[in-house]
């Protein structure tokens, strides 16, 4: 204890210097948005680069597994591409795009992830220079991952699905009843589906997928299967537990959804709120 005090006294100038410089950095950040963004960007860049390096070194150990999942993904996308092409032809002939939602996907790797906190975040290795913007949905080959939050030039920070602020519009696959998916904060493999009215007939094992009603995710992306159904006395909506299709502890390659008609849909829906 004495030695620590002696050390503090001997280096008091340096310690005071460091403390005051941190105070000044705080003062600068709160007074100037430019400096705050610059500080956050550089810390994002440093932490992003470190995660990238550590991820690259671990990559060689996962190559064969990734190859297999990529082959599966390719097969799925090729069939989908055929459908899209067919729809394109149909639309060119009839000159309507009522039935087409135009999505492109940007692939990216997860370089940082967490599932144990109350609010979890994910870092991706693509950013502004790959046309990623905040508020875009993120999916994987198995299910939903999250929504992008803020982007620097080469990295993106994103809300995980396991975050209290994230609510996804979902619907049952075998009917059109829709509700909201949100995470309760306990089990990283289970989310909660709300707003399904109590007259709907549900079975354990029913598939829950995205409804396509938000501008974030296309319709039909699988979220999970119903695991538990509760209806409390006096409530008019079910309290449904959904087991996630994607294990968020084990995510690697993800796809960021670029919805090309997003601005149009959001502006139209915003007019509803204004009225």
């Amino acid at each position: 204890m004495n030695k620590i005090l002696l050390l503090l006294i001997r280096y008091n100038g340096f310690i005071l210097f460091v403390l005051l410089e941190f105070l000044c950095a705080y003062i600068i950040s709160i007074n100037s948005n430019y400096h705050l963004v610059s500080l956050l960007n550089s810390s994002n860049f440093i932490s992003g680069s470190l995660y990238n390096i550590s991820n690259n070194t671990g990559d060689y150990f996962k190559l064969s597994k990734i190859n297999d999942s990529l082959a599966v993904e390719n097969a799925r996308l090729m069939t989908q591409a055929k459908n899209v092409y067919f729809k394109n032809e149909f639309i060119l002939k009839t000159q309507t795009n009522n039935y087409q939602q135009v999505y492109t996907f940007i692939e990216s790797k997860v370089i940082n992830n967490s599932t144990t906190k109350f609010n979890n975040y994910i870092t991706l290795n693509k950013g502004n220079s790959d046309h990623i913007k905040p508020n875009m949905g993120i999916i994987s080959s198995k299910g939903i991952i999250g929504i992008t939050k803020s982007c620097s030039d080469k990295f993106t920070s994103a809300y995980s699905l396991l975050h209290q602020d994230i609510k996804i519009s979902a619907k049952l696959k075998n009917s059109n009843y829709f509700g909201t998916i949100s995470w309760q904060g306990h089990d990283p493999n289970v989310v909660s589906l709300s707003e399904i009215p109590k007259h709907v007939i549900l079975n354990i094992g029913d598939i829950v997928e995205t409804s396509g009603y938000s501008a974030l995710f296309p319709k039909g992306i699988k979220i999970g299967v119903i695991k538990d159904i509760k209806l409390l006395q006096g409530e008019s909506y079910y309290d449904i537990d959904v087991a996630l299709a994607e294990d968020l502890n084990n995510i690697d390659y993800v796809y960021i959804v670029n919805y090309l008609m997003k601005d149009e849909q959001i502006n139209l829906e915003r007019a509803n709120d204004d009225q």
């Binding site: 100038g13 005071l16 210097f17 005051l20 950095a25 003062i27 007074n31 400096h35």
Partner: protein
């Protein structure tokens, strides 16, 4: 510190802050350069001031000057940096016999050349820290370097001028 010292410090603080904010902040060569004279407060402290006192003095004058320039944090940060490096620079340019008198550095004792070296070293470091903190990136680094060097020369001229005015005042009083 003696009461005399405190009064002298307070007077110098107020004087330098006033000159800086009223006159020098309005001088903008080519629209960008303006001289900084407030580092003189830290540089003209007695040579044997304790390290932490010069750091705190730097923070105070930097903060006050910065408040009038809408950038309190930047000038405070550079003032703290200047207070931190001051003892090291003083050690570096120590004259052959050491500092004779552990009080305020004076032209009569140390000579003009010592003062030019002292001011240019410290002002260069101070301005480097200031302008890098202000721009907060390494884009356009040649512009930053040009600004640092030209601003240092300008501040150096103003400081030497102020030094002559200040010391001739005290010799006149004798």
């Amino acid at each position: 510190m003696t009461t005399n010292n405190n009064i002298r410090n307070l007077f110098l603080f107020v004087l330098l802050v006033l000159i800086q904010i009223l006159f020098l902040d309005n001088i903008n060569i080519h629209g960008t350069l303006n001289p900084f004279i407030y580092p003189l407060f830290i540089l003209l402290l007695p040579i044997n001031t304790v390290h932490w006192q010069s750091i705190v003095a730097g923070f105070l004058i930097g903060f006050v000057v910065g408040v009038f320039d809408s950038s309190p944090g930047i000038h405070a940060a550079s003032g703290v940096f200047l207070g931190f490096i001051r003892p090291f620079v003083l050690n570096l340019i120590k004259p052959k016999g050491g500092y004779k008198d552990d009080s305020i550095p004076k032209i009569k004792e140390l000579g003009l050349l010592w003062f030019i070296v002292y001011f240019s070293l410290t002002l260069l470091l101070h301005h480097t820290f200031l302008f890098f903190t202000e721009i907060a990136s390494v884009n356009n680094i040649s512009y930053t370097f040009a600004k640092i060097i030209l601003s240092t020369i300008f501040s150096l001229l103003c400081s030497i001028l102020a030094l002559y005015l200040f010391s001739s005042n005290s010799t006149k009083n004798k």
